[in-house]
C-alpha cells in the first residue's frame, strides 16, 4: 500500500529525514518509535502533504501512485489520514460543520451523494459514543479549548468517520490516561482490516500493549536504525532510547 524509498527531507535547508525506506502492506499495522526530534512527525506530516517540507531525494508510492505529486486534499480523498500530534484549533468553526465538510468533500470525490443532516448526525453520535466523546463537543469550535485528551479523541473520531485506507497516528497516545488510551486503542483496532494499513507513531511502548503491531521501526536522527516485530518495542521500553546513540545495543539486540 505504501512504499517509501530512500526518502530525504529538508526544512530550512536542514536535513531531517536521511534516507528512509519503508514498506507497509494492506492489512498491516506498523509502529514507528524513536526519541524526540528524530523526525517522526516530519515523516507523518510529509505523508499527509505538508508543503513546508522539501523532498530532496527518494520517492513515496501509495497504492502504486506517486503520493508526493498529490495535493493534501487529494491524498485525503484517496484515503490517507493523519491524526495530528498537535491537532489544530479552528476558531469559529463548529466541530459539526468541520466533520460534515470533510466527510462530504471526500464523498463528493468518490461521486457519492452528500449525507443529509439527519444521517450525518446519527453517524456522528454513534461514533462519538464509541470514542467516549461528549456530544457537546460537536457544537464547540474545532479543538478550541479542548483538553489534550479531547483533542486526541477528536482525531480518532475523524478517523472513524472518514474511514481512510492508510491511517497515520502521530503520538495519539501521548498525554492520555489509561482509560482514554484504551478507547483510542479500541478506535484503532476497530479500523484494522484487510484493506487498511495503519502507521502508529509513538514514543512509548504502552499503546502497543493494546494494539499489537505487525512491525516496529526505530527512527533515530532521520534514519530507520532498526526494524523488527512487536518484541522490539518491548526491548526499547526496557533499555530506553539512549543506546541508539551509541549503537551498542543495536548490536546487542541483534
Amino acid at each position: 500500500m505504501l512504499s517509501i524509498k530512500n526518502l530525504h527531507v529538508c526544512i530550512d535547508g536542514k536535513e531531517i529525514l536521511r534516507g528512509i525506506n519503508l514498506d507497509v502492506k494492506a492489512g498491516e499495522v506498523h509502529a514507528i518509535m524513536g526519541p524526540n526530534a528524530s523526525g517522526k512527525s516530519t515523516l507523518a506530516q510529509l505523508l499527509a502533504g505538508r508543503e513546508i517540507y522539501k523532498v530532496t531525494a527518494g520517492s513515496v508510492h501509495y497504492l502504486g501512485r506517486d503520493l508526493l505529486a498529490m495535493s493534501p486534499e487529494r491524498r485525503a480523498c484517496e484515503g490517507v489520514f493523519l491524526a495530528f500530534q498537535y491537532p489544530v484549533e479552528i476558531p469559529g468553526v463548529s466541530n459539526a460543520l468541520f466533520l460534515k465538510t470533510a466527510l462530504n468533500a471526500i464523498r463528493k470525490y468518490h461521486r457519492l451523494p452528500e449525507l443529509d443532516a439527519m444521517d450525518f448526525l446519527t453517524l456522528v453520535r454513534e461514533r462519538m459514543k464509541r470514542v467516549g466523546m461528549d456530544e457537546a463537543l460537536l457544537l464547540r469550535a474545532v479543538n478550541e479549548g479542548f483538553s489534550g485528551g479531547e483533542k486526541k479523541r477528536n482525531e480518532i473520531l475523524q478517523l472513524n468517520i472518514l474511514q481512510p485506507r492508510l491511517a497515520i497516528l502521530d503520538e495519539t497516545d501521548s498525554g492520555l490516561d489509561i482509560d482514554a488510551l484504551k478507547l483510542v486503542a479500541d478506535g484503532v483496532n476497530d479500523m484494522r482490516g484487510a484493506d487498511r494499513a495503519i502507521i502508529l507513531v509513538t514514543h512509548y511502548q504502552r499503546l502497543l500493549d493494546y494494539i499489537v503491531p505487525d512491525a516496529v521501526h526505530v527512527l533515530s536522527q532521520g534514519c530507520i536504525v532498526k526494524s523488527g516485530g512487536a518484541d522490539l518495542a518491548k526491548d526499547l521500553e526496557r533499555h530506553g532510547y539512549n543506546w541508539l546513540e551509541t549503537g551498542d545495543l543495536i548490536k546487542q539486540i541483534a
Binding site: 495535493s71 495530528f84 460543520l97 465538510t101 462530504n104 452528500e114 472518514l162
Partner: protein, 442 residues
C-alpha cells in the same frame, strides 16, 4: 476654518430650504440655514484633522451638488422584492428611497401599544413636537451631522413608552437609487424606562453610482431600557457613506451597536455612546469584509461618565484586494467613573499583500479602580489551519473560506435576530469561494 471657501457654499446655501420637509415653518428653515452655516464655516474635514487622517472626503466636495433631490424615484424592483420578503419575516418595516419614506412598501400598521413610529418628514411638515436633539449643535458629533441637519430629507422617529417590549425588530430599509444623488436620513430613537427594542438600519445601493449618503442616528436609552441597533451597509460599489450613530444611556440601561459593512466605495461610521448614569452596559460589535479599493473607517467612542458601567467592544475586519480599513476605538473613562469595566478587542485578517489596516485603540483613563483592557491583532490565514482542513479533504479554496467564515463567526454568532444573522452569514459566504457549499452544510 480649514478649506478655502468654495463655490459650492454659496450655491448650496440658496438651495437649502425650499422644497425640503418643514419648509412652511420659519423656525425649521432657520434651523437648517444655521446648520448649513456651521458646516460651511468648518468646511469639509481634511486629512490634517486627526479624526479624518485616513479618510479622504474631498471626493464629496467635488460633487456637482450636495443638495438632496426632492422627488424620490420609484423603488427599483430588486428593492421591492427584498421589502416584500422582509414584511414576510414579520418585521415592522419602513422603506426609504433616496432618503424619502415610501409608505406603500412599508408595513408599520401593527405596532404594539406604546410604540410610535413616524416619518420624520411627516413630523416636520405637520409641525409636530420634534425631538430636541434634531437640529441641535450640541448633538452634532462630527461636522457631517451639521450637513445632515441642514439637508435632512426624512427619516424615522421611534418612540417607545416605558415598560414596552417590542418583540419584533423595527427594520429601516434605506435604498439608494439613481445616479449622483445625495441622501440625508435622520433616525431618532427614544426608548422609555425599561423598554426594549431592536432597530435594524439596512442601507442598500442598487446601482454602481456615485451616490452620497449622510446619515445620523440618535438613540436615547432610558433607565433600565435595552436597545439594540444593527446597521448593515450594502451600498453600491461607487457610493460614499458617512454616518453617525450616537447613543445616550441612562441608569442600568443596555445599548448594543452592531455595524456590518459589506460594500460601498468609502464608508465612515462614527459610533458613540455616553454612559451617563451608573450600571450601564454598552456593547459595540463590528464586522466588515472589504475588497478592491474599498475604504471603511470606524471611529468609535465610549464615554464612561458615571461609575460602575461596563463596556465591551469587538470588531473584526477581513480585507482583500487593495482595500483599506481604519479602526479607531476610543474609550474615555472620565473623572469619577470609578469601577469602570471596559474591554475592547479588534482583529483583522489581511487576505492580500495590498490590503491595509490602520488600527488604534485609544484608552484615556481619568478615574481610579478601573478595569480597562484591549487587544488587537492583524494577521493572515493560518498555514496550520489550512493544512489541517486540507488534510481532511477540503480543497484549498474551501479551506480558506472555512477559516474566513470561522474568523467572522465570532461576531455573527452574537447577532440576536435570526433573520439578520442568517443574512449576514449569507452575505459573507456569497463572497467566498465555495461559500455555497459551506452554506448548504450550515
Amino acid at each position: 476654518m480649514h478649506v478655502q471657501p468654495q463655490s459650492w457654499q454659496n450655491v448650496e446655501l440658496s438651495l437649502v430650504p425650499d422644497a425640503l420637509a418643514g419648509h412652511d415653518s420659519p423656525w425649521i428653515l432657520a434651523a437648517r440655514k444655521t446648520a448649513f452655516k456651521r458646516f460651511s464655516e468648518h468646511g469639509f474635514p481634511t486629512k490634517r484633522e486627526e479624526e479624518w487622517k485616513y479618510t479622504d472626503v474631498s471626493l464629496i466636495s467635488k460633487r456637482g451638488s450636495l443638495a438632496p433631490d426632492n422627488i424620490p424615484p420609484d423603488a427599483p424592483s430588486e428593492a421591492k422584492l427584498l421589502a416584500w420578503a422582509l414584511s414576510g419575516e414579520g418585521m415592522h418595516l419602513m422603506v426609504f428611497v433616496n432618503g424619502h419614506f415610501d409608505s406603500e412598501l412599508s408595513t408599520i400598521d401593527d405596532l404594539p401599544d406604546g410604540v410610535q413610529l413616524s416619518s420624520l418628514a411627516d413630523m416636520l411638515d405637520g409641525d409636530a413636537n420634534l425631538p430636541e436633539s434634531l437640529f441641535s449643535q450640541q448633538h452634532e458629533h462630527t461636522i457631517f451631522a451639521a450637513l445632515n441637519n441642514a439637508f435632512v430629507t426624512d427619516g424615522a422617529v421611534l418612540k417607545i413608552a416605558p415598560d414596552t417590549v417590542l418583540e419584533t425588530p423595527i427594520y429601516l430599509f434605506l435604498i439608494a437609487s439613481g445616479h449622483g444623488v445625495a441622501i440625508y436620513p435622520h433616525i431618532i430613537v427614544m426608548a422609555g424606562e425599561n423598554s426594549s427594542a431592536t432597530v435594524i438600519e439596512h442601507y442598500m445601493g442598487t446601482l454602481d453610482a456615485h451616490n452620497f449618503t449622510n446619515a445620523i442616528t440618535q438613540i436615547n436609552v432610558g433607565a433600565g431600557a435595552k436597545i439594540e441597533h444593527c446597521k448593515l451597509i450594502q451600498e453600491g460599489p461607487a457610493a460614499l457613506h458617512i454616518a453617525g450613530v450616537h447613543a445616550e444611556q441612562s441608569k442600568d440601561s443596555s445599548f448594543t451597536s452592531r455595524s456590518f459593512v459589506f460594500s460601498g466605495r468609502s464608508v465612515r461610521n462614527d459610533i458613540t455612546s455616553s454612559l451617563n448614569e451608573t450600571g450601564c452596559l454598552c456593547t459595540f460589535d463590528g464586522l466588515y469584509l472589504l475588497d478592491d479599493k474599498q475604504h471603511v473607517d470606524h471611529h468609535t467612542r465610549i464615554d464612561h461618565i458615571a461609575p460602575c458601567c461596563t463596556s465591551r467592544e469587538y470588531y473584526r475586519g477581513i480585507l482583500d484586494g487593495e482595500s483599506r480599513g481604519v479602526f479607531n476605538g476610543k474609550v474615555i473613562v472620565h473623572h469619577g467613573a470609578n469601577q469602570t469595566d471596559a474591554h475592547q478587542t479588534n482583529h483583522h485578517l489581511l487576505l492580500s499583500k495590498q490590503a491595509e489596516i490602520d488600527t488604534k485603540p485609544q484608552l484615556e483613563i481619568f478615574a481610579d479602580d478601573v478595569k480597562c483592557t484591549h487587544g488587537a491583532t492583524v494577521g493572515q490565514l493560518s498555514d496550520e489551519g489550512l493544512f489541517y482542513l486540507r488534510s481532511r479533504g477540503l480543497d484549498a479554496d474551501t479551506a480558506r473560506s472555512v477559516l474566513i467564515y470561522g474568523f467572522a463567526n465570532d461576531i455573527i454568532n452574537r447577532i440576536n435576530t435570526p433573520y439578520l444573522r442568517q443574512r449576514i452569514e449569507h452575505l459573507l459566504l456569497d463572497r467566498l469561494p465555495q461559500g455555497d457549499m459551506v452554506k448548504e452544510l450550515l
